[in-house]
């Protein structure tokens, strides 16, 4: 793939991301004190059982939620509730968990986790991380992989449109990339991006992302 095609893919990716997420914006200021307390109670009493204290998940099977973008969290909760996100752990866990959540609770949970402070990243193999950084920041034109930073930001902190990836568990990230590849998680843009990623590259990018702090 030449540079022109790569640029086109990046532009298309950006457009699709905007289209997908534009409809779901969360304004934390719009959540009243009662809803905020109700959200905190559910987060501490239920979500924390897997996602850890204040969203700092310990088990790599479950994603870190601390500091995640509220829009992304809300979009995922909707996807779980409507059973449109189809990766294995979504079916096994989150379809059930999201089923009884109403709009105000979903907004309160998204707000709660977006307000939590992310932890410092977890260091790993420096060579692997350097390779991952290269792919993340600059992509791999030969493989048709655009730079991830184009959407997720140079520090992988995400934006109101795209999820934060910084500090996320390697195991979780790899499972998501594979789910995008085989369309278990049906997101067109990520399907295209992840298609050319081989396992060693996934490991490298994931190790880099896990190493990033706030």
């Amino acid at each position: 793939m030449n540079t022109k095609n790569l640029r086109r893919l990046t532009a298309t990716a950006t457009l699709l991301c905007i289209t997908a997420l534009a409809a779901v914006r969360v304004h934390g200021a719009g959540i009243d004190a009662a809803n905020r307390l109700a959200g905190e109670r559910v987060a501490v009493g239920t979500c924390a059982n897997c996602h850890g204290w204040q969203g700092h998940s310990i088990q790599p099977k479950f994603p870190v939620l601390a500091g995640q973008q509220a829009n992304y969290l809300l979009a995922q909760l909707h996807a779980f509730k409507s059973q449109t996100r189809g990766d294995p752990d979504a079916l096994g866990y989150m379809w059930g968990m999201a089923a009884p959540l109403d709009e105000s609770m979903m907004a309160a949970l998204a707000d709660y986790y977006s307000r939590q402070t992310p932890w410092a990243g977890e260091r790993g193999d420096p060579r692997l991380i350097a390779h991952g950084e290269q792919i993340y920041q600059q992509g791999d034109a030969a493989q048709g992989i655009p730079p991830c930073a184009a959407c997720h930001g140079p520090k992988a902190a995400g934006t109101s449109m795209y999820p934060s990836l910084a500090g996320q568990h390697v195991q979780y990230l790899i499972k998501q990339l594979r789910s995008f590849q085989n369309n278990l998680r049906d997101v067109a843009i990520m399907h295209g991006v992840a298609q050319g990623l081989k396992l060693p590259d996934m490991l490298a990018v994931s190790a880099y992302l896990q190493s990033l702090g706030p």
Binding site: E40, G45, A48, N49, W53, Q59, K61, Y93, M97, Q171
Partner: protein, 472 residues
């Protein structure tokens, strides 16, 4: 006198043996999955072993409910009712075949022998109500038909109230109450007796004579009330009391369900205290628990008959049970490893039995150790190796030599029994399990060779057990 002593001993230990033999094994309950919308793997490594989330679900009183609710509120918006539109019902069936290494002598002592294999169809069939009852109240109620009794009876039952106290800095304290019918059935870890390994076992083998009281001996014959708290998903403390609540026992005068008198066996004097302390630590895919639990039971031997009347008056036999447990779980995507161990130490002060001549010693010790390692690949293929050992004071009164046909007797009065269980499992689906289990005894009722003095060796009681276990 000797005959009375024999009768009392027989009454005491036949009832113990019966309860040990009939002690239920542990199950997983699909109605929880129906209620929560979560697959089995959310709460279990492989059923019935719980993972961290499963322990939290239980501590929270089985109340997490993602079904549509029938609701009612008052004018102050207080909830009056929150009832699932579908009842949390489930069923379980175990179909098994057991091959005993050496068949049994005919009960009359004639040289004829039994068959060596037994088909259990069903070995057990259970119906569960397991799930939320009200916003903070849940229940796990099990009714079981068993082929040995050919009767339906109450099995493990745990009624709970649980709530969450939100602490500063987003920490949580789960607190609650449990009313249950089997000490440790309310526990959260698979190290304690009620939910410990083996999760399923043959009921067509030969049971050894000795078991500590907390080790299933009183299952379904007691009612317990305990209060517990779980701080920050890690530190667990519980205290409670148990009182006799015997099933199938009536007052001989009125024929009513009570009050119990001297014809009943092993009746608890007053309330028996129970305590549990455990700490769980998680890091990465690892989960480690260390804990201790114990109880003190003062039992009236009872078991009186017209020939040998008994009363529920002092003295009692006092059993002090103190146990430690340890559990390690590794939960990978493909690989799951569990190591579980418990050691139960029991001190018996047999004031009643020694006075009546039912025991040879005024006090005894009894120790049980179990160490189990399990591996599963993709929750589909599993293997378990477990070592068990019970050792204690020799007491020809408690563990009598008896006469022909032997088998469930001890030539030297020793309770020592030890051996190994090896098991392989295949789960084509998460709620269906096919198991092949082999149990080998190094020692049985105190001996390796000729343990009953009538020529039977410990290894004669080895069993091969094939099980089809469906929960749905």
């Amino acid at each position: 006198m000797r005959e009375v002593r024999w009768l009392r001993t027989t009454a005491l230990f036949s009832s113990l043996l019966l309860t040990v033999t009939l002690a239920p094994t542990a199950y997983a309950v699909p109605s929880f999955a129906r209620q929560t919308g979560l697959a089995c793997e959310a709460c279990h490594t492989v059923f019935p072993e719980l993972n961290h989330f499963g322990r939290l679900f239980k501590a929270n009183g089985y109340t997490l409910d993602n079904l549509k609710q029938v609701r009612d509120i008052d004018t102050r918006k207080q909830q009056l009712l929150s009832l699932s539109t579908l009842p949390p019902l489930a069923a379980m069936i175990q179909v098994s075949e057991t091959w005993l290494n050496q068949s049994l002598p005919q009960g009359t002592g004639l040289p004829a022998r039994s068959q060596s294999s037994t088909v259990g169809f069903p070995q057990q069939l259970s119906l569960f109500y397991a799930g939320k009852v009200a916003p903070h109240v849940g229940a796990m109620i099990q009714l079981t038909y068993e082929n040995d009794s050919a009767a339906i009876g109450i099995d493990n039952t745990d009624l709970r109230y649980a709530n969450l106290l939100l602490l500063p800095n987003d920490h949580g304290l789960v607190y609650g109450l449990s009313v249950n019918n089997n000490p440790t059935v309310q526990d959260l870890w698979n190290t304690t007796p009620a939910w410990g390994y083996p999760y399923a076992a043959s009921n067509a083998g030969v049971s050894s004579l000795a078991a500590t009281q907390i080790d299933g001996t009183l299952a379904q014959q007691v009612a317990g009330l305990s209060a517990y708290a779980l701080w920050n998903e890690s530190l667990y403390a519980e205290m409670g009391v148990y009182h006799s609540a015997q099933q199938g026992v009536t007052n001989p005068i009125t024929g009513a369900a009570g009050p119990l008198d001297g014809t009943a066996s092993n009746v608890i004097e007053g309330a028996a205290p129970y305590a549990r302390l455990a700490y769980e630590y998680q890091w990465g895919r690892h989960d480690l628990e260390v804990g201790a639990y114990g109880a003190q039971f003062k039992l009236f031997p009872g078991g009186g008959t017209t020939a040998a009347p008994a009363t529920l008056t002092l003295p009692t036999n006092q059993f002090d049970d103190i146990a430690e447990d340890l559990q390690y779980q590794f939960l990978g995507e493909d690989h799951i490893v569990t190591l579980a161990a418990t050691h139960i130490h029991e001190t018996m002060h047999l004031d009643a039995s020694f006075a009546s001549g039912a025991s040879a010693n005024p006090s005894n010790q009894l120790n049980t150790t179990r160490i189990t390692g399990t591996y599963y690949f993709r929750r589909k293929y599993g293997a378990t190796l477990s070592h068990f050992a019970t050792t204690g004071s020799a007491d020809p009164g408690l563990y009598p030599a008896g006469s022909a046909p032997g088998v469930i007797t001890s030539a030297d009065g020793s309770p020592d029994t030890s051996g190994w269980i090896a098991e392989v499992n295949y789960l084509p689906w998460l709620n269906t399990k096919l198991s092949l289990q082999y149990t080998h005894y190094d020692q049985f009722n105190g001996g390796t060779l000729n343990y009953d003095g009538l020529g039977r060796d410990a290894a004669a009681n080895d069993t091969t057990y094939l099980l089809l276990w469906l929960t749905f």
